[in-house]
Symmetry: C2
Subunit: 267 residues, 2 copies
Amino acid sequence: MIVIKIGGASGVNLDAICADLASLARQGQPAILVHGGSAETNEISTRLGKPPRFVTAASGFTSRYTDRETLEIFAMVTSGKINTLLVEKLQKAGVNAFGLSGVDGRLMVARRKDAIRVVENGRKFMLRDDYTGKIETVDARLLALLVEQGYLPVIAPLALSPEGDALNVDADRAAAMVAGAVKAEKLILLTNVPGLLRQFPDESTLISHLPAAGLEQALTFAEGRMKKKVLGASEALGLGVREVIFADGRVENPVQAALAGKGTVIS
Amino acid sequence: MIVIKIGGASGVNLDAICADLASLARQGQPAILVHGGSAETNEISTRLGKPPRFVTAASGFTSRYTDRETLEIFAMVTSGKINTLLVEKLQKAGVNAFGLSGVDGRLMVARRKDAIRVVENGRKFMLRDDYTGKIETVDARLLALLVEQGYLPVIAPLALSPEGDALNVDADRAAAMVAGAVKAEKLILLTNVPGLLRQFPDESTLISHLPAAGLEQALTFAEGRMKKKVLGASEALGLGVREVIFADGRVENPVQAALAGKGTVIS
């Protein structure tokens, strides 16, 4: 089993990814797709008169402040638009894709971070009423059931709290948890860069191989969004995934190129 | 098996419906929920600067003109927002709800009406590029699989064309096709009126029982949206569903009231 995460960053070639997944499906390679949707959520929430707000946690990580209205827009865009259009694209390519999010059948249960310590203009305070979560369990049995029936699951980054609240979760870390739960051999994170760069955005500084022990140091030079991918890689390896590959989602056959070792291979 | 369709019309009490479904689930009654989302799609498309456009077919039926942009908004709202929030509400009530739309695993395949003959201001013409479909098949095996695993399927009104295009479908008729496919004993259509009224909106003219043979005549006095429900009832009975009930979705225990015969029972 391989798990592939695709971001919504500009340049990522969804047609090439879907055609590649169809080719892998014909070769009998089971796969699970996890997607994000930050960029498109920003655009649509702005058009709806609710521009996104990002906050920086005391730990240094930046995340979307998700009040209830933002959560509903996030669900609309990720689960309704991006997920449906990905399933449509895969179906057109001949793959029997099946879209779902973590709320469906409690696929992903997350602990709600109902109060986050944030820093804004040097001032520290607690933000409450946030509908963001950290995934604690992924129902591998449900995913196995879908895969056994010949479906390719396509997962939107929502989870359910134990109390039943829908939550926004980070898609990179969701992909890591899914890969760990289904005991995937490989987790491939496709982005709009060739992999982990020692000096972003200089693509000539691509790191082609990184031992797991080097991940902590990578956190120091990974730029913005890449930080969460590094965290995800670390979580996935900790859960028994053998290899995590950061690879280029802009090229032809991006999944097969990653499987062949192109990008940053972490093991 | 019972199939319940809920509309998005104002007044329909989603909390009462979900609590009632939870009570039925505890009694061991398997169910499938189908929902619409017209009203909310109108609101959100208007906010996004793309107000809805309705067209009247030569046959007299009114439907949403669904160009590609409208289809994507429709998917966003029905599959992303309404479906997710219904699943969340049911999960909170203790029901293991599982949301999907007709594109997922090709649950519903529809013939695309790519050119519709419409009448506008007395002028007849053909409208093309419409992403609306008429459901031809529903995968009962997939629904049975979910129900066997203890899930309550919650279905959004999207289908896939044989060519793989996502299509907007009428939710009442989708519910009828689902009920037929799973050989449901009863199909319950919950609305914001007590049932079929001989003289809309006079609730004292409620028809409490209608033989199937009376459906054709009912088309002559059924108002607007109710016409499609009458068509759906006729289709469901034709597919072997024993009873179709038009019932009030505004009351407490609306599903159990309908099962007890409140509303318009068609058999």
